[in-house]
């Protein structure tokens, strides 16, 4: 059980309101990702759910009970921090045992859960080491182990993979997803990395300046961004946003087209430009195109190897059925 409901929650630091009134429900068993640029309030929101940050107003419900004033220790949630936040003076075993020790779980049960967690997280050989003797990836596993053994009603992750290198990050991402499939426990995951959000989430919550811009499944956000901000934030490389005469032709203030929805040819197309930078990745080729008269740079993602080079004149054909249109307020026009 782990439904989490935020009712009209706000947060102010002094006179600065970082989170204006906000409502959000995260269903039991859901993997929700809070994503947004740094300073958008996503970590603050998570800390408010955890109880580490007081609410200025509004209420937090966990499993239908008001938990607004419940101390973090009593909310039945487990949290994994970006900095791992392991206890440096305790062995891995004691780190993992700590929440059970606080809860007064008997020794035999503690040992059983430590063994299970260590096996699931490949930590069996490291149980007697101190955190200082482990690599970043291993430390993060210990932090996850410490969260699992609590058998919480929900897991809270605060940018847990940000301190890891790229390769390790992909591996841990998969492990967390598998863990979610296995445990089926509610997870709330905060990240600024939209790739993490897209690959892991059942539900993405896009935040900007404390305001929820859109809530939806990864593909809903990809195909139907509610506004210009979400359109620009979700997807990599970023969606091309074009305003001016070209947008007006389509009856919009701004139009958006994703780099993968533009075809390139050498001879004919709707638009024309000069290749500024061509990035050949093998699987894809990214072109950053200048002098189109539309926007400073148009980015195109062509599948496979496409042999245009810097300085070549190139023709672009946007797939018009994939065009996104936005009005003067930046909202989507259906």
């Amino acid at each position: 059980m782990g439904q989490i409901k935020l009712n009209q929650v706000t947060k102010s630091f002094g006179d600065v309101e970082v989170i204006p009134p906000l409502d959000l429900t995260i269903e039991d068993g859901e993997f929700a990702v809070f994503v947004g640029p740094s300073g958008c309030g996503k970590s603050t929101l998570l800390r408010m759910i955890a109880g580490l940050e007081d609410l200025t107003s509004g209420s937090v419900e966990i499993d239908g009970t008001d938990a607004t004033t419940t101390p973090p220790a009593k909310r039945g949630l487990a949290m994994v921090f970006q900095s791992y936040a392991l206890y440096p003076h305790m062995s891995v075993r004691k780190n993992i045992a700590f929440p059970m020790r606080m809860a007064g779980v008997d020794q035999a049960e503690q040992d059983r859960r430590i063994k299970a967690a260590a096996e699931a997280l490949n930590l069996t050989d490291y149980l007697d080491r101190r955190p200082g003797q482990l690599s970043g990836g291993q430390r993060q596993r210990v932090a996850i182990g410490r969260a699992i053994v609590r058998e919480p009603s929900a897991f809270l992750f605060d940018e847990p993979l940000s301190n890891l290198d790229a390769a390790l990050r992909v591996g841990m991402r998969l492990e967390i997803c598998e863990m979610h499939d296995r445990l089926k426990t509610t997870m709330i995951y905060v990240t600024h990395d939209q790739v993490e959000a897209m690959t892991m989430a059942d539900k993405i919550v896009v935040l900007q300046a404390g305001v929820i811009e859109q809530v939806g499944s990864p593909l809903e956000l990809y195909h139907k961004p509610r506004n210009v901000f979400v359109a620009g934030f979700i997807g990599s490389p970023k969606m091309n946003l074009i305003s001016g005469a070209e947008a007006e032709k389509h009856g919009a203030r701004t139009i958006g087209i994703r780099p993968e929805h533009i075809d390139v040819t050498g001879d004919s197309g709707l638009w024309q430009g000069v290749v500024g930078v061509a990035e050949h990745l093998g699987s894809d080729t990214f072109f950053h195109i200048h002098n189109t008269g539309l926007a400073e740079t148009i980015t195109v993602r062509a599948p496979g190897e496409v042999s245009f080079d810097n300085g070549d004149v190139i023709h672009l054909s946007p797939r018009l059925d994939q065009l996104h249109r936005f009005d003067a307020q930046g909202l989507r026009i259906e």
Partner: protein, 276 residues
């Protein structure tokens, strides 16, 4: 960053360092040497350095004349008691200042420190009167309380500095793991701050041990510690340098030994956080 140093430079540096060290240590060395001289040799001109008749007579006179063990015991109780009491009061105070600061925390810290700038004699009269009223003049309890209060600003400041080095997220993790405030301080904060707490304990024990103003003014016979023991040898019947030196040596010996064995801890504690 390592820098290349020539052999000659190294020798000069070492010689200079040793000279300064010896210069600082010289008064203590001289006191110890004088304690083994006769009264005549102690004041001879020119002074004798090592070539004198070594004698233990001063020590036996001092031991005969005063009850050294009682003074020593008083010193241990007063210094130890005030330090432990100070830590018990200061840990929660420093915790709140370091981890849940208010808008006025900085002001409170500075105000606390400013009390150390006041000459102690300025409050002697009121404290003396309070002591009489409470009936704690010339008691160890009274001195434990007054020395604890005198050193509290330093204890809080030191602990505050150490606690600030501990990442708040670790304490938050403890809170998420179900630890109460007491458990958080006991099982997570304190063990992590052990080096800092240990050097705070040591430094304050030394400060309290050496404290002479309050111990001399607020004690007479019963609660007098070793500082009063030394002072009793600068007597009206004339100065007996050799005996005074013997008494001084006996008074500083325990703290000197303690300081010697814990110097590594003290230095690492005092420079804790200076380099990140």
């Amino acid at each position: 960053m390592a820098r290349a140093v020539t052999q000659r430079r190294k020798i000069i540096n070492t010689a200079v360092a040793w000279s300064i060290g010896l210069l600082i240590f010289f008064p203590i060395l001289w006191t110890i040497l004088t304690s083994f001289k006769t009264e005549a040799q102690a004041i001879s001109d020119p002074p004798v350095f090592l070539a004198f008749d070594w004698t233990l007579e001063n020590y036996s006179v001092v031991m005969e004349r005063s009850n050294y063990m009682r003074f020593l015991w008083n010193s241990v109780i007063i210094a130890g008691g005030s330090t432990i009491l100070g830590i018990i009061v200061a840990v929660p105070a420093a915790w709140s200042m370091a981890f849940v600061p208010s808008a006025r925390t900085k002001d409170i810290l500075l105000w606390m420190l400013s009390t150390k700038m006041l000459p102690a004699v300025g409050v002697l009269y009121p404290i003396y009167l309070i002591f009489i009223k409470l009936g704690i003049l010339d008691t160890r309890t009274g001195l434990v309380i007054v020395l604890m209060l005198m050193n509290l600003p330093i204890i809080v400041w030191m602990l505050y500095t150490y606690f600030r080095e501990i990442p708040g997220e670790i304490l938050e993790a403890a809170r998420m793991d179900g630890a109460s405030l007491k458990e958080e301080i006991l099982y997570v904060l304190t063990p992590m701050a052990v080096p800092g707490i240990a050097s705070t304990l040591l430094l304050n024990f030394i400060l309290a041990w050496n404290e002479a103003f309050w111990t001399l003014n607020l004690t007479a016979a019963k609660a007098a510690p070793l500082t009063a023991f030394i002072a009793s040898y600068s007597s009206p019947e004339g100065l007996f340098y050799a005996k005074l030196s013997a008494a001084s040596t006996m008074a500083i010996a325990p703290i000197l030994v303690l300081g010697w064995f814990s110097q590594k801890q003290l230095v690492s504690g005092l420079t804790f956080g200076a380099v990140k």
